[in-house]
């Protein structure tokens, strides 16, 4: 019998093994971003900006030219790249500490300028890399190493809703919140990420996809338990959906 490969890792990833913990969604998201790059046929003209966070290593995993931005500054770095080379596809890949804490200003202003860049925003409600501190997206009551008694809104405020905030910004061309907890989610997310890239390719404006994601290690759960926790808690706090779409239908 002859077999054809129906599912196989994308070309836009290097063979390097991921440094992520077992079951961490960063890996899934990497793969679908790479698949989108493959499908759009833009690997050779893509530039990527890795953040500081667990995905700091992503610049080694994507087989495209890449750099690591200072913590939170990926959107500014990407802006510099895109302005220098408007003919290139530029994307950033950022965590919730990187994008929604120290990098709040940079993401909002890049969005507001309508930069023709794409941002993959991985919201796992925690600082993974530094060992599980509270993120701005940490849920109320959630215990982290810096909220050992649970996040208390009276002291730390409520989780920030990045997509809801960004939808108020005119320069945003595509914006969605999604997850990758099931194969169906993964497929859908891939389509959304593709649209966010199309916003850039078609010169419409800024595109961002927020992906709710697990951090089994710092949540203190197994990968499979983490899926369940995400479904039961995060999707309630962070409603999924397409918040802005100025791209229209794509093939």
């Amino acid at each position: 019998m002859t077999y054809t490969e129906r599912y196989k890792g994308p070309k836009s990833l290097t063979p390097k093994e991921f440094t992520y913990c077992p079951g961490c969604h960063h890996g899934i998201i990497h793969r679908i971003v790479a698949e989108v790059i493959d499908e759009l046929g833009v690997q050779g003209k893509t530039l990527m900006v890795a953040p500081v966070g667990c995905s700091v290593f992503s610049y080694e995993f994507f087989d495209v030219d890449g750099t690591v931005a200072p913590h939170g500054r990926a959107p500014a770095v990407a802006t510099g790249m895109k302005r220098a080379r408007p003919d290139r596809i530029v994307f950033t890949y950022q965590g919730d500490g990187d994008l929604a804490a120290i990098g709040t200003g940079e993401i909002i202003q890049a969005a507001n300028r309508g930069e023709k860049i794409t941002t993959i925003f991985v919201n796992n409600a925690i600082y993974g890399m530094t060992g599980g501190q509270m993120a701005p997206t940490t849920l109320v009551g959630m215990k982290t190493t810096t909220t050992p008694y649970g996040r208390n809104p009276a002291n730390e405020g409520f989780p920030i809703h990045v997509s809801e905030v960004l939808k108020e910004i005119t320069g945003v061309a595509f914006l969605a919140r999604t997850k990758v907890s099931t194969p169906q989610d993964v497929n859908k997310t891939k389509q959304l990420i593709k649209k966010a890239f199309m916003a850039q390719i078609n010169n419409v404006g800024f595109g961002l996809v927020e992906v709710l994601s697990t951090c089994p290690t710092n949540w203190g759960l197994t990968p499979v338990e983490s899926l369940k926790w995400l479904e039961e808690n995060m999707t309630k706090e962070f409603p999924l959906g397409v918040y802005v779409d100025k791209v229209g239908d794509i093939k």
């Binding site: 440094t19 913990c21 667990c54 890399m129 290690t217």
Partner: protein, 180 residues
């Protein structure tokens, strides 16, 4: 003057760091000077982990040592990495459940402790690190068993207190194994 500068090295997760901290703690309870210094490998997770413990009757100048009096090797890469540094006449304590080979050096004492096996026999593989610690205590004779017992009493409180016995047993087994 009594002095011991040991390196304990293995994979992350083998309890190497905890062993060092406990030892250092017990040394303090014994009224000794002591330092504990961790060193994590470049990998974020998994990878190697080792720590340096110095125990001395005098103020410890350098907490960093490159000539350990004892090496506790929990896996092969760690043994290979550090064995050449052990001082002449020093001791190498190997977890022989994990490390099969034995190094060439003739100028050091070598103890092969089947720590995992012993721990398993005690009913909990996790205490293999305490078996290794027991072996060290026997070899170095630098910290009193009283202090070790007290250290456990400080560290394992509440519901964990019931683990003290198991740990002490592991230590004793390690001492016995090293004494053989």
């Amino acid at each position: 003057m009594k002095y011991s500068g040991l390196i304990a090295a293995g994979f992350g997760g083998q309890g190497v760091m905890l062993l060092g901290q406990l030892l250092s703690y017990a040394a303090m309870l014994d009224g000794k000077f002591t330092t504990w210094l961790p060193s994590y490998g470049p990998e974020m997770r998994g990878g190697t982990a080792n720590c340096t413990v110095v125990i001395s009757d005098e103020y410890i100048a350098s907490p960093v040592i490159d000539a350990p009096t004892e090496l506790l090797a929990f896996n092969l890469p760690s043994m290979n990495k550090f064995v050449s540094q052990v001082i002449k006449g020093g001791s190498l304590i190997i977890n022989s459940s994990v490390v099969e080979s034995v190094p060439e050096r003739k100028d050091i004492k070598i103890f092969r402790i089947p720590a995992n096996d012993i721990a398993e026999k005690l009913g909990n593989i996790k205490v293999q690190n305490m078996v290794m610690m027991g072996a060290f205590l026997h070899v170095s004779n630098i910290v009193s068993m009283d202090a070790v017992q007290h250290a456990f009493e400080h560290k394992l409180t509440g519901t964990k207190a019931k683990l003290i016995d198991l740990n002490m047993k592991a230590i004793e087994s390690g001492m016995v194994a090293a004494g053989k």
